[in-house]
Every structure is written in C-alpha cells, then in structure tokens.
Amino acid sequence: MSRQKVMRVLPWVVTPVLVVAIVVIWQLVVSVGQVNPFLFPPPGAVGEKFMGLFVAPDIWSHTLTTLSEILIGFAIAVVTGVVVGVLLGKLPWLEASVRPLIVITQVAPKVAFIPLFVIWFGFGITSKIWLSALLAFFPIMLNMLLGVRSVEQGQREVMKSLNATRWQTLLQLEMRSVQPYLFAGMEVGIVLATTGAIVGEYIAGSQGLGFLVVSSMNQLDAALTFALILWLSLLGLVLYLVVNELKRFFIPWHESVYGLRETMA
C-alpha cells in the first residue's frame, strides 16, 4: 500500500480502535478499580441513559432551544464580526483609536458577563444568544481584520492597472481573498458559540441541554450527565462539520482545503 493510501485509511481504522479501547479501559477502571458507579458510571449505564434520552419527548425541545441559541448567536457574530472586521481593516485610524478597548474586551473573561446579560435580557434564551454572539464575535472579527489587510499587493495592482472601481476591487478581489480568513474565524467561532450557549444555560437556565446537565448533576445522576455531554459533543461536532463543509464548498481553491485533500488522496 502506498504512503498516500495509508494516510487516507489510517484515521478510519485508528479512530474506531481508539474509541473501543477507551470504552474497554473505562469498563475495566469501573469494575476492577471498585469505583463507586454513582460517581463514575460504567459505559453500559451511560449508553443506556443515552438511548433513554430520546424516549422522553422533551429532549428535542431542549435540543431545539440550545441549537437556536447557538445558531442565532453565531449568526449575529458572523454579521457583526464581518462588518466590524472590514471597517477596522479598511480604516486604520479607527482601528488605532479603538484598539485598547478591543484588547480589554478580548482579554476579559466573557462568561463573567452572563449575570449582566441575565439582568438585562432575563432568564430566557436572549441572554444565552448574546453570550454566544459575544464569544464567537472576536475570532471572526479579528480574522476578518487580518484578512482585509492581507490582500496581495500584486493583485491590487492588477485591479489598478485595469482601472477597476473601488466597488469592483471590493467585490472581485477583497471579498474573495478574505474568505479563507472568514472561514478560519467561523470554525473557531462556532465552537465558542456552542460553549457560550451551554455555559449560559448552566448559570441561568430553565430550558436547554445545559439546563438538563445541571439538573442531572443536582439529581446526582452521573450516568445521565455523561449521556448529555455525549449528546452535546455530537451536536457540536455536527455544527463544526457544517461550517467545515461550507468552507470546502466556498473556497475549494484555498490551500487549507486542497492541501488536505492532496495529503489524504
């Protein structure tokens, strides 16, 4: 088998093996190690709880709540992140004047804002949407800022020599060459938006999957907590894959897409 073939097949073989190994070790730790199953439930119990999740009808309404918070927050972050990032990238004087503020906001632990958001927006989904948006905003905005500034000078000169208008340069060159940066920001952003929604629900929730996790904790039902974490991870994975797929669709020409394809192929 050629080296490339090995590279392509490798993750499909190793991942299931690793998962099985983890489950086996987990089971061994529980049964041999005499761990209290209430604290550290065996994989079988978690699997049972996981399948049980979908018997109760309200899991779907909680899932829908959390997904709405993530997606609306993420959408807000994309729109504001793109607009602010482009503005700051194109207007150096604006960037220079607000940079200290951006740095302060960026290094501030943003989950600390959730009590404020609860005071302002209540215990419903609005406060979680804003936390999601706030977390996802920064990577998207900063990547856009970098992207707008990274347009190749030679390509700008091509547009200039063709007597292109500002509008044409924006549409045909800048908006295209910034796309890899946008998707890099979005890939980080979707993960942070998910984190934002769940942490919001932990702290001040009456619905959503984060709320369910906290309830299961309060009931000391560790197996249910594990099952919910598993479900949340699967949702996060799906969201990430959707963004990744969008990237493959929109920028097939970029190295981050074709480079991977070539090492895998």
Binding site: G154, V158, K160, L162, N163, Q172, L173, Q179, Y258
Partner: protein, 280 residues
C-alpha cells in the same frame, strides 16, 4: 542587410508608424522624484521617448536605473512629478489621476503572474472583460481564443495552483491581451522563470506579439532577451534614471533560437554589455 536566420520564411512586415503621424506612446521630459528621509531621489529624470505602432521596445539597465519606475508611470500605476505621457496623443496623467480613456488602452504584465487563485484560468483571462461589463458569452469565447493563443488550450478549467510558473505567466499575458490593448507593458515578466523556460517564453511572446500586432514596452535586465525581442533597446542609467542610448535591432522577425548564435546578434549583445559595464 544580412539576415540572422536562413531557416524561417519571409516574416510579415512589421506595422510601423508610417501610416500615422501620432506615435502610440510619446513621452516628453518625464521625471519622478521620491522624497525620502535622506533627501530627494531622482528615480527618473528627463526621459524623452517616442514609440510607434507595432514597435517592440525593451528597457534595459542595472537595478535602480528607473526602468520599472518608468514603466509604472506609463502603466498608470505611479504619477510622474515632471513631464508628460501621451497615449495616441491623449495625456495619460492629469496631475496624480489617470485619464480613463487613456488607461483603458493599456495592458500590464507583472513580474509575478498575480493570477486570482479562486478563478479558473479562463475566468482569470476574462477578468478585465468582466470589469468592463462584457457579457459572459463574449468573455468565454474571447478567453478561450486567448488561452489557445498563449498555448493554454485544454487548461481553461484549471486553477492557477495547478499550473507551472511558465504557464501562469502565459495566463497573465492572455489576461493582459483580453481587452485588446493598444500598448502592452511588461515588467520583467519572465524574471522569475528558469533559463530554459524563459527562452521558450521569449519565442512564444514573439509569436503572440506578431500575431496580435501589439506595441510593447518590455522591461528586463537580461541583455540577450532584450536584443532577441526588441526592435529598439533603450539603455537606461541610474542616479538619476536617464536614457543613455537607444539601439535599433534591425534583424527581421520572427527571430529563432539560432538568431541568438549569429555574429550580428552577439555583436549587439557584446556592445550593450560593454556599455552597461562602463557605467561604473
């Protein structure tokens, strides 16, 4: 007049300015100063140059002689600080802004291909036409013709990353030709290519220029390249950037690889090299 090659058929007569009194490009007293911390640099100073239709003019000289600065002023990328540039009798520069009707007659080829990686070869070639609002159908038709002309037939759907350096430069040349420019400006277009590819590109460029009867200003620091391609070689000297001499190369076109080994060709190259060496 001895011909440099006996292998080629009689070349088509080059179109010169005989039928038209207005030169394609007329440069008078052109200068460009750069103000730096250490004072004013005269990158280009007092350049007069007139180029007729169908002429191929090579600008040659050491680094810093102002040849690229001169070309960028002709290309509307850099405003002169003195003098005038006329394209077909129309002033290119009004102060620091370019005249739209004059700049649309130009085509520019850079040292790097500067293709857009998100566009296919065909769409890259068609970009200038797109900016001018040509219909998709016209763009496609013309771009495929040009792809064939520069030897990229069959690669229309490829992306720039899939092409070699020489092929990318061919695509860039096709892009610059897509608006049928009256004047083609080339800034060391083959400078980044290896010697063998470069030689082949020179032959290709000569063929393309003869087929399209283009007028070309070609910047290079490669003496044989300049002599091989040009009807006139303009030798520039630095500090300040001036035209030192203009050498006609009267050998008929098309020239072949064998042209480069004839005594006449070597005489011109040797004299030019001697003059450039004498600068110091």
């Amino acid at each position: 007049m001895p011909t440099m090659s006996t292998q080629t058929p009689t070349p088509p007569a080059p179109i010169t300015g005989a039928t038209d009194a207005v030169p394609r490009l007329n440069i008078q007293g052109l200068g460009r100063d750069f103000i730096t911390r250490s004072g004013t640099t005269h990158a280009v100073s007092g350049v007069d140059l007139s180029i007729q239709r169908g002429e191929f003019v090579a600008l040659i000289g050491r680094s810093g002689c102002g040849k690229t600065t001169l070309l960028r002023m002709i290309g509307g990328l850099l405003a002169p600080t003195a003098g005038t540039i006329e394209v077909d009798g129309n002033n290119l520069w009004r102060g620091t802004t370019v005249d739209e009707s004059a700049i649309t007659k130009l085509g520019f080829v850079f040292q790097e291909s500067n293709l857009f990686p998100w566009l296919s070869v065909l769409d890259n070639i068609a970009l200038p036409m797109k900016l001018r609002g040509a219909s998709k159908r016209d763009r496609r038709a013309r771009a495929s013709e040009l792809a064939d002309l520069v030897g990229l037939g069959g690669f229309e759907k490829s992306y720039p990353r899939e092409l070699s350096g020489g092929m990318r430069q061919r695509a860039a040349i096709a892009r610059s030709l897509s608006t049928e420019p009256d004047l083609l400006l080339m800034d060391e277009p083959f400078g980044a290519l290896d010697a063998l590819t470069r030689e082949r590109m020179n032959l290709e460029l000569q063929r393309i220029v003869l087929e399209t009867t283009s007028t070309v200003v070609f910047v290079t620091h490669d003496i044989p390249e300049a002599v091989f391609l040009a009807d006139r070689v303009v030798h520039m000297t630095p500090r300040p950037g001036r035209v030192r001499q203009v050498l006609p190369v009267v050998e008929p076109k098309p020239r072949t690889v064998n042209s480069m080994t004839t005594p006449e060709f070597n005489d011109i190259v040797r004299n030019l090299r001697h003059d450039i060496d004498e600068e110091n």
